[in-house]
């Protein structure tokens, strides 16, 4: 039996007229006869030779054949088989294969009907016959095993259907970065964050990704685990989750902190009780937006509603995009915290933005714990 390479055109077998039975002497002629026999059992499918190419896996875990890798290199068609041995998987190596067309004038690259290959192993010779199904999704494999070690084992034939392994190369979607309203809507208060809080003195160059990381670390230290990134000119905006605060700017303890409505008292405290019993029980809410940009900016006259500020969390990105993060944090960059504070006069009423806030931006950052958290970072 030969696996010698010949030009594919010369390997065309006439399969339409022969009706011989199968023999198990794997000479070139025998290969042809077996291929003819196999092909006569089913309706022929004419595929391009390239349709055979690829990695095919056997979904049947009990079958001898594990996978086949078929390649075409110029005129050379090769098959590599991985089979199931007693304890592991064995590689039968790469062998040259023969392609067969429907008639002797066929152009195999356009109308290949079947492929055969012979694997010679120390104890056996295996003839592999391959054909594609009608939709070219499955590769039917017939393995004719002839034992050559005089062990008395009976030659056998095994067939299986292999599936093409799809390479999961998902195309990366185009990067769409939500834009923060620019210039930013009028805030209740603002505070500039010192560069010394954001850049370690020992670091020569810093990127926006590193600045973002420091801000995120400080936010998480203060319980702001949910945040959202937006693009602003030459930089980014980082918006926090809407939180409920006391009149002095201190964040309410969870779970009231993240509630978007004023809840009844859960724990008795005389001060809170008297306040809730006698007053209108107003709700105060806050969103902090850190804007890191090299562009000087003012605030627009646009008034932002609580719902809009609340939606900043869900409309932005969960992480800073690389295209922004890679920008260098030069001396032109500043970091400004914009505080949007909303007051609900009494529970059930529509919260309105407080412009200006009774507290300064720095008070808000101090009471929320963010100022000390940023200040204490190495």
């Amino acid at each position: 039996m030969s696996t010698q390479a010949d030009p594919l055109k010369t390997r065309v077998a006439i399969v339409g007229h022969c009706r011989s039975s199968c023999v198990v002497r794997f000479s070139r002629g025998a290969q042809t006869v077996i291929v003819v026999f196999v092909l006569l059992l089913g309706s022929p499918v004419f595929a391009r030779l390239s349709d055979f190419v690829g990695l095919w896996r056997n979904p049947d875990q009990r079958g001898q054949l594990v996978s086949l890798r078929i390649r075409v290199d110029g005129n050379r068609l090769t098959v590599q088989a991985e089979v199931r041995c007693e304890s592991a998987k064995c590689d039968w190596g790469v062998v040259e294969a023969l392609a067969y067309g429907p008639d002797k004038s066929s152009v195999l690259s356009e109308s290949a009907q079947s492929v055969s290959a012979v694997f010679k192993q120390p104890d056996r010779e295996v003839l592999l016959i391959l054909s594609l199904d009608g939709q070219l999704r499955r590769l039917k494999a017939e393995l004719f095993t002839h034992f050559t070690d005089n062990s008395g084992r009976v030659d056998f034939v095994e067939s299986c259907s292999l599936e093409r392994e799809v390479m999961m190369k998902m195309a990366r979607p185009p990067e769409i970065i939500p834009q923060f309203p620019w210039p930013p809507p009028r805030a209740s208060a603002m505070a500039d964050i010192s560069r010394s809080f954001l850049v370690s003195p020992t670091v020569q160059k810093s990127s926006l990704a590193e600045i973002s990381a420091r801000l995120v670390t400080a936010l998480e230290q203060c319980g702001y685990v949910e945040k959202s990134f937006y693009a602003v000119p030459e930089g980014f905006a980082l918006a926090t989750q809407l939180e409920q605060i006391d009149a002095d700017g201190t964040s309410k303890p969870a779970p009231d902190r993240w509630s978007v409505k004023v809840n009844p008292l859960r724990v008795f405290s005389l001060t809170d009780y008297l306040k809730a019993l006698f007053t209108a029980n107003p709700g105060r809410y806050r969103v902090i937006v850190f804007v890191v940009t090299s562009h000087p900016f003012s605030q627009s006259d646009a008034s932002v509603s609580q719902q809009e500020a609340q939606s900043w969390l869900s409309s932005g990105l969960n992480t800073l995009p690389k295209s922004i993060g890679d920008l260098a944090f030069t001396s032109e960059y500043t970091c400004t915290a914009l505080v949007y504070e909303f007051e609900e006069p009494s529970s059930g009423n529509t919260p309105v933005i407080q412009v200006p806030s009774e507290l300064t931006g720095r008070d808000h950052l101090s009471k929320s714990g963010l100022w000390p958290a940023l200040e204490s970072q190495p």
Binding site: P264, D272, Y273, A276, L277, F278, N281, S346, S347, G348
Partner: protein
């Protein structure tokens, strides 16, 4: 065992006026601080019927006493007095509780008013029982006095 009627009447009067005054005070402060928002009239609409009829009755009987139109009944059964006193106290506490527990039940004016409206389910019958027990002291005495004056 009998108790002096005038003393019993005074005790009940003090209880009702102090209790009613306390409730009024709370709701007045709440109204001033806009606790009920634009639902203040609903709050007062709930509160006043809970104790004003009784206070009015008591006040009118005292007026009759001052005018000397009611006959003096010297004593009343001790059990009857304490039953009326306990029922009155319990009723006023339940009314107060409906207001004082608001912060734990709701956080909005609508919620407070809703609690008040729901409380009418049990306050109505309760008020009937309390009124009946007080009638022994005030209504009955008034009618007896009227009978005596009519002879």
């Amino acid at each position: 065992m009998m108790l002096p009627m005038s003393a019993c009447k005074k005790r009940l009067t003090i209880l009702w006026f102090v209790g009613g005054g306390f409730l009024c005070f709370i709701v007045i402060v709440q109204t001033i601080f806009n606790h009920y928002g634009n639902r203040a009239s609903d709050a007062w609409g709930w509160l006043l019927p809970t104790f004003m009829p009784t206070l009015s009755l008591i006040a009118s009987v005292w007026s009759m006493d001052v005018l000397g139109k009611s006959a003096a009944i010297e004593s009343v059964d001790r059990f009857v007095f304490w039953l009326a006193f306990a029922l009155s106290l319990a009723y006023l506490l339940v009314v107060a509780m409906t207001i004082l527990l608001q912060p734990f039940v709701s956080s909005s004016a609508e919620g407070y008013i809703s609690v008040m409206n729901r409380s009418s389910l049990f306050l109505g019958p309760f008020q009937g029982v309390v009124g009946a027990s007080l009638g022994v002291f005030f209504v009955k005495k008034q009618s007896e006095g009227a009978d005596q004056n009519g002879r």
